[in-house]
Point group: C2
């Protein structure tokens, strides 16, 4: 019979759990989440089980990665539902600290990654990736995880964390897992629950516009202007507003000149009825 | 017969050495230095030998902790002499990377600690402690050290690193070791080699002024103004220029009101003929 999933609330709880895993020589895989778990998260947990024995899911809506006008307060929370989903997907433990546990009085350390954090989503969310790096490094070091899994949907986040891990010699192996989508193509996101029925329809223009670009790419088009030009119009026509759509190098998110000349990522963010969504496609050269 | 001290030049060398120690279950103690080793550094190495089996001394003049007008280029370097001293004090290995090895192309991660880095030395060296935190965290994580030793002379640095380690859950135990002084009281510093004979004489006014404050404190004086007022004059009279002299809480470097009311640190920096020196005294309440 499988042991029941543990609920860890404090760093001390986490250390105790971690010690037990280390003593039993059970490699630890971490799946960091902000809760409101959907199939995307669950796919990470299932994949984690192929990679390690002890699967830790962190559930923490990290205040320092939200900007002052963003959706921290209304971010969806469903702790009991999340625990059931995490356990059924195979989690060994959930770490769900309070903000005070993660950022107690006197806390004042900040980790940031430079240019990689300033482009794409970083332009409209200038403090976002610093908050992500800080909490992720805390989770890595506090959990003592050997492996950590992230979804490809947050492509820039994965690039930023990969850079941080490399630059600081953090002893954690990173794994990126494919985007999970609704049947009609919309990428799963906890923020999809914000969408009205109309906005949900409009939001479909985002993956469809990216599909169109990927299609043109697959037919050999490499000119960035030609590839990207239709995206904004398609989203506007559906009633959304494009924040950005860019094609950059898949590794390192470097800008191309006029034409792409290696593996690339097409990344975009758009707003539908006040809800900001992101999506991306890998474009193999 | 003791094994000869290893010289590690690359992160890959360091990982290999680290793995060998871990396999042999030898705890690792790290003594991070910028070279130009003196008795202060050697006292850390000797103390490290009481705490761990494998003693790693890093020698790296870290460019990112120097300001644009500071002494990076002329900082004293004597690698062969340093290795002899480190070995005779008991080091198992020296890690001496190039700047390119520590900060290769694309490196862009930065670790900083807030208010603790902005006071005292942080006022005249605004980027210093961020550079220190970044390199120290790299050294901690790359070496996999269990313990790290620092001199009390860099008191603020120790407080900043203590904060970083706590905030990020870095699994390293920190040890602070007493200041080592010349017979006449001047704190040992690699920068003392910059002093002309006249400046060397003048520099003595720094520890002597701090002695006078500590003496008044030991007699019961707790009023900060009264305690600190003579310091600037004494140093000016000797021909130096006081950068700052402050009394703050020993833990956390918090400011007092008019009077000190718990264990404190008296920290000061002064410039003698262009050479900036620091010193401090713990004041037990």
């Amino acid at each position: 019979m499988a042991t029941r999933m543990k609920i860890l609330r404090t760093i001390a709880d986490l250390y105790a759990w971690r010690s037990a895993q280390k003593e039993a020589h059970r490699p630890i895989a971490l799946v960091p989440t902000m809760g409101a778990l959907h199939e995307g998260h669950l796919s990470l947990i299932r994949r984690a089980k192929q990679e390690a024995d002890a699967i830790l899911v962190s559930i923490f809506v990290n205040p320092i990665q939200f900007g002052p006008k963003e959706d921290l307060d209304k971010y969806p929370r469903d702790f009991e539902g999340d625990c059931k989903k995490a356990e059924s997907a195979g989690a060994s433990a959930v770490f769900a600290p309070t903000p005070e546990e993660m950022y107690p009085e006197g806390f004042q350390t900040h980790v940031s990654v430079g240019p990689l954090s300033e482009c794409l989503c970083g332009k409209s969310r200038p403090t976002h990736f610093g908050g992500v790096c800080t909490v992720v490094l805390k989770l890595f070091l506090a959990s003592g995880c050997d492996i950590a899994l992230f979804g490809q949907k947050d492509y820039q986040q994965y690039q930023v964390i990969t850079r941080m891990v490399k630059d600081l010699h953090v002893p954690v192996k990173l794994i990126s897992c494919p985007i999970v989508r609704e049947a009609d193509g919309l990428a799963l996101s906890s923020r999809n629950t914000y969408l009205t029925a109309d906005a949900r329809k409009a939001a479909l223009s985002l993956p469809r516009a990216l599909d169109a670009v990927a299609d043109a790419w697959s037919k050999g088009e490499r000119n960035l202007k030609v590839l990207l030009q239709p995206v904004g119009d398609a989203i506007a026509k559906a009633g959304g507003r494009l924040d950005y759509a860019e094609i950059r190098t898949a590794e390192g998110l470097k800008e191309f000149g006029e034409k792409a000349d290696c593996d690339a990522v097409l990344a975009a963010a758009a707003v539908f009825d006040g809800v900001r969504l992101i999506d991306n496609r890998l474009l193999r050269f």
